[in-house]
């Protein structure tokens, strides 16, 4: 019996080894290193001097950090609900039997598999005030489009639109899978009971989609708090930091301003914030989880 156990252990460890090594080298080591660096004044070059929690204290006093943090929260608060509602509506529409369903599903999913950087460059063209496609289309409705990327208000809105466009298809596919996993018998029973329309939606569809909705909510919040590519390419955080977000600032501190210690501290503040937020969501949905 002991031999068999030993053998099992051997094979288990052998098969797990690549993952364990990968996790240790590419996740655990950077995690521990960054935690340590966040307690130093290391500037990428030169010596590391231990400064305790100075970087963390500075993070809460730094006006730029507070600006980018509030931008990040605003971005998340606006995009996450949209990234729940729109994909759900699309998924419900495309879950019906109608012509060209596959074409529409593929079309909506296309941005997900496209390069964010390449797409951001194209959006940048489209946002030009005088010669861009977005304002050209708006002009048909008699709307004088704004200067999207130099307006402190619209620059962040422009980033939000691109982010929603990019993630819409992915969330739609998840909802679609969730919808198709709902047994038809519930709807048949509802039909027999005369339950139709919105009541079906709120009494059957949405409750049974809760695990999917929770997953999409958690992932959308995490992705929104970590938004970077589109900000970096489309606005560079401008004008005057009005579209800069936390990860963009972390990148600037660590790799452009060579304040690696401070950059790591900001990274840990974000990580802890995301962790707490995710735990809160799981706690709020505890009942759902215990059923699952």
């Amino acid at each position: 019996m002991t031999n068999i156990r030993n053998k099992d252990w051997f094979w288990a460890v052998l098969f797990l080894l690549p993952s364990i090594v990968g996790l240790a080298v590419f996740t655990l080591y950077p995690l521990i290193s960054s935690a340590y660096i966040s307690l130093t004044d290391w500037g990428l070059l030169g010596d590391m001097n231990f400064v305790g929690f100075d970087n963390y204290i500075h993070a809460f006093k730094d006006a730029t950090a507070l600006t980018v943090f509030s931008n990040t929260i605003l971005f998340t608060v606006v995009t996450v609900p949209v990234l729940l509602a729109l994909p759900l509506l699309l998924a419900m529409a495309l879950n019906r039997k109608m012509p060209m369903t596959r074409f529409f599903r593929a079309t909506y999913f296309l941005p997900t598999i496209s390069s964010m950087v390449a797409m951001s460059l194209i959006w940048q063209w489209m946002y030009n005030r005088d010669f861009g496609l977005v304002n050209y289309i708006l002009s048909f409705a008699g709307i004088q489009g704004p200067n999207w990327l130099t307006s402190p208000f619209y620059a962040l809105v422009a980033i939000m639109i691109v982010s929603v466009w990019k993630s819409l298809g992915y969330n739609m596919m998840l909802f679609l899978a969730g919808l198709q996993a709902i047994p038809r018998v519930y709807y048949e029973a509802a039909d027999l009971d005369g339950c139709t329309g919105l009541r079906r939606l709120f009494r059957i569809t949405l409750p049974l989609l809760r695990p999917t909705t929770l997953f999409i909510t958690v992932m959308s919040i995490i992705n929104s708090l970590q938004v970077f590519d589109q900000v970096m390419v489309i606005t560079g955080g401008g004008p005057s930091r009005s579209s800069s977000v936390l990860v963009h600032y972390i990148y600037q501190c660590a790799f452009q301003y060579y304040e690696m210690g401070y950059g790591c501290a900001l990274g840990w503040v974000l990580a802890i914030f995301i962790f707490l937020l995710t735990m809160t969501q799981f706690a709020l949905n505890k009942e759902e989880y215990s059923i699952e």
């Binding site: 990428l44 030009n128 005030r129 005088d130 130099t150 620059a155 401008g238 004008p239 005057s240 009005s242």
Partner: protein, 442 residues
């Protein structure tokens, strides 16, 4: 017979061993250098590759691995490579970051050796300012060498100027327009149809502070932003600075002769250069490096000087990249050879001919050397009148400071707040001065 055979064998063996040792020695001397640069254009990269090929042919024991890194991330990657002890032996360095690198001991100090390779008396003034950095010992040190310079000019579309009845932009100091004349001419070039502007007079005046336009305008208006040793920002809030900010903003917001940029402070699709090349804008204020792209675009172009802002102020600024050696290089002699080759006329001449660079050696402007690079099909009419400006140019303020990236970002944030968010100008300039000083004090 046996003895003869033995002798022949011995000699052969000795020869084989000698040859083997020789080849081994030759193989041992084979040196691999790495060279990094950013790619301003595919043509520049090709010119550099051609230069490297010629260098390798002249130095068969040296092989050069040339790598280009996008300009926007270039210095970040360079410093990261240095931190991981894998930096290139020789590399392009934006002069604005020289002090950041030198202060960290990352650049090989060329002060004592460069004189053996380069005639320092042949350098134009702005180049001397650019390559000489005050060290901690109070002495000037040379941490890099250049072969080129770039200065601010206004390129214009001749066809659009003719159609609007506007005279070409002057190329001589004496004939320069006043700012009011410039604005009036730009108004003539701006076309509005059905309430929509279909052609603008000019663009790029709100360019990022890391480039040329803003600093040049400030200096033309007698503004001064730093003390003599560049340890402190002073005078940013002066009346001269205010006037420049107001003049530039008014082009777009008051006169409507300049377009809104697609995005603030960054190179974008629909960039000012692209708008100029596509005929949507009649003129562009920009570094002379743009000549290479403009000359190949097929448009009918000209170039001229910035308007005069203060009578008697004929100041001109110039800068550009330089090449430097990493202090951690294991191949110093070979690296020196490569650096000095890349700072030679042979290397620079093909690129001068394209218009991307202007020479930073006085001798290249002489009668006998001018025909080597001054291509009339590239350099527009009147360019020769502006050459003295390059020869007598001063270095840029921002090439002499440190924590430069933080300072550029801080200045641009405040500029954008004034240009696009209507932040009060006094607040803007006060913030700029304070934020520069905060970063210089770090």
């Amino acid at each position: 017979m046996k003895r003869v055979t033995a002798r022949i064998l011995s000699i052969s063996l000795a020869l084989v061993i000698a040859l083997g040792c020789f080849s081994f020695a030759a193989a041992e001397e084979q040196i691999n250098l790495t060279f990094w640069g950013w790619e301003a254009s595919a043509l520049e990269a090709q010119s550099i590759q051609n230069g490297i090929t010629a260098f390798e042919a002249a130095n068969p024991n040296i092989h050069v691995d040339y790598m280009t890194v996008p300009n926007s991330e270039y210095h970040t990657k360079l410093k990261t490579a240095m931190a991981s002890d894998s930096a290139p032996d020789v590399f392009y360095l934006d002069a604005a970051y020289t002090r950041d690198f030198a202060n960290n001991g990352l650049l090989y100090d060329l002060t004592d050796v460069i004189g053996d390779y380069v005639d320092m008396n042949d350098l134009i003034n702005s180049s001397i300012e650019k390559v000489s950095i005050a060290g901690a010992d109070g002495q000037n040190h040379i941490y890099g060498m250049d072969i080129c310079c770039v200065g601010p000019v206004i390129f214009y579309n001749k066809d659009l100027f003719q159609a609007a009845g506007v005279e070409p932009i002057p190329t001589t100091v004496e004939d320069r327009w006043t700012w009011d004349e410039f604005v009036e001419n730009m108004k003539k070039l701006t076309i509005v149809e059905n309430g929509k502007t279909t052609q603008y007079g000019t663009c790029n005046w709100e360019e990022t502070s890391s480039l040329y336009v803003m600093e040049y305008m400030l200096r033309l208006n007698n503004a001064k932003w730093f003390n003599d040793d560049f340890t402190q920002a002073v005078g940013v809030t002066s009346e001269a600075s205010k006037q420049v900010f107001e003049m530039i903003k008014a082009l777009r917001t008051e006169y409507g002769v300049a377009p809104d940029p697609t995005a603030a402070g960054m190179e974008t699709g629909n960039s000012p250069t692209q708008m100029f090349l596509s005929g949507k804008v009649a003129s562009i204020a920009i570094g002379s490096y743009a000549l290479q792209e403009i000359s190949r675009s097929g448009i009918n172009y000209g170039a001229g000087l910035f308007p005069v802002l203060q009578e008697g102020n004929n100041d001109f600024i110039a800068s550009a990249d330089m090449k430097a050696i990493w202090s951690g290089t294991k191949n110093l002699d070979a690296a020196l050879k490569l650096l000095t080759y890349m700072s030679s006329e042979d290397f620079g001449t093909p690129i001068y001919k394209t218009g991307l660079w202007m020479p930073s050696r006085l001798s290249m402007y002489s009668e006998d050397k001018l025909p080597l690079w001054f291509d009339r099909t590239v350099y527009p009419e009147g360019w020769e009148n502006m050459m003295d400006m390059f020869k007598t140019s001063s270095g840029k303020w921002f090439d002499k400071i440190w924590n430069t990236k933080q300072i550029f970002d801080a200045v641009d944030e405040e500029k954008e707040a004034y240009f696009y968010i209507d932040q009060d100008l006094d607040t803007t300039l006060t913030n700029i001065q304070n934020r520069i000083n905060e970063n210089l004090a770090k």
